[in-house]
């Protein structure tokens, strides 16, 4: 396992949400297989120079989504049977990500839509 997490402080998306999304995607794509042990909240917080509460919130939300399991003394691990998102849910997540990125580049909504239409017709 040689994956990493990246947080962009200039991104308007809150850091906890950036972490949550990246971890969810790594789990959904199988890059983080079931049972994989994750670092402690403190380790990630120290690496990213973020507050521990920020990382803890991302972990909590992933636990609520049944993607992570935390056991006392056993650390936090990827759930053995994480719920598989439907294609529609994945599409919505990717679209939201695309739109957010395009907005950060200052691209107007019409141009965003036009790019999708052009890409679909290719």
């Amino acid at each position: 396992m040689n994956h990493g997490l990246t947080v962009d402080l200039e991104d308007p998306t809150p850091p906890f949400e950036q972490l949550r999304r990246q971890l969810a995607e790594l789990i959904h794509t199988g890059a983080l297989p079931p049972g994989t042990r994750l670092p402690t909240v403190r380790q990630i917080a120290a690496d990213l120079a973020l507050a521990t509460g920020t990382v803890a919130r991302a972990y909590r939300e992933l636990e609520a989504a049944q993607l992570l399991v935390t056991r006392r003394g056993g650390g936090t691990r990827v759930a053995e049977h994480p719920p598989v998102p439907s294609p529609e849910e994945l599409l919505q997540a990717y679209t939201t990500e695309y739109v957010n990125r395009a907005r950060r580049l200052g691209i107007p909504p019409e141009a965003i839509l036009e790019t999708i239409t052009r890409t679909l017709s290719q």
Binding site: G4, T6, L38, P39, R42, A46, D47, A49
Partner: protein
């Protein structure tokens, strides 16, 4: 720091720690209120303590996480046991477990000071493992630096433990052979103490040599780098 690179600054801080340790060693060994050899016995512990402080200062204040708006974290849990030089750690633990008991006049002081030194060593090693990625190039480079720091801490602990045990064992062996009793039990105790003295002297010298030669805090330590890349793959 003084225009030095991060590695250079860490080496300088560690070197200052060792220098202060040597002064503390001399001050402890010659202290008037640590009489009847207690100062001499505690001197290596003082040296070890200063070595830990030097490593801790390097990890805590010199190695700073990379600044910037885009930050990265690895998803591999970093555990202290993955960075420990295991054979050396086993040798140090064996030394601590087999040391002879020289009586409460000496042992209480030694136990208290070694407990404090061990806590400081553990805190320093944990700090080295937990610290974020610094200026070193790549994950393997950062891991090599962490391994280097933990090795320096274990070597310092080895000096703090093995040197007093060697001194106590040598004194015990000399006293035992000096009585001239000649019984087999005396021979057994005398030779055991002699072997312990020699083994702990060797361990202390090895730790000192390791501290000088292997823990230069350079980012590229071939064996450690290779081990780190094997672990992450």
């Amino acid at each position: 720091m003084l225009g030095l690179s991060e590695d250079g600054a860490v080496r300088l801080v560690r070197f200052i720690g060792v220098l202060i340790g040597l002064i503390a060693t001399w001050a402890t060994a010659t202290s008037s209120w640590l009489s009847l050899g207690r100062g001499l016995m505690l001197a290596p512990v003082a040296l070890g303590g200063c070595i830990f402080l030097g490593v801790l200062a390097g990890e805590r204040w010199v190695r700073r996480p990379s600044a910037g708006t885009i930050r990265t974290a690895e998803l591999r849990p970093r555990l202290l046991r993955d960075y420990l030089p295991r054979p050396l750690m086993i040798a140090v633990l064996a030394s601590a477990a087999t040391g002879p008991y020289p009586g409460s006049f000496y042992s209480i002081f030694l136990a208290i000071s070694l407990s404090l030194a061990t806590m400081l060593a553990a805190g320093t090693a944990v700090r080295a493992v937990r610290r974020p990625h610094g200026q070193a190039s790549g994950q393997a480079g950062t891991d090599a630096l962490r391994r280097n720091s933990v090795t320096a801490v274990v070597a310092g602990l080895g000096i703090a433990i093995a040197a007093p045990v060697a001194g106590v064992s040598a004194t015990m062996a000399a006293a035992d052979f000096g009585t001239g009793c000649g019984s087999s039990a005396h021979y057994l105790i005398g030779w055991t103490a002699t072997i312990l003295a020699l083994a702990n002297t060797l361990l202390g010298v090895y730790c000192l040599a390791l501290l000088i030669t292997r823990t230069g805090a350079r980012g590229e330590v071939p064996s450690a780098t290779a081990a780190a890349s094997t672990q992450t793959s």
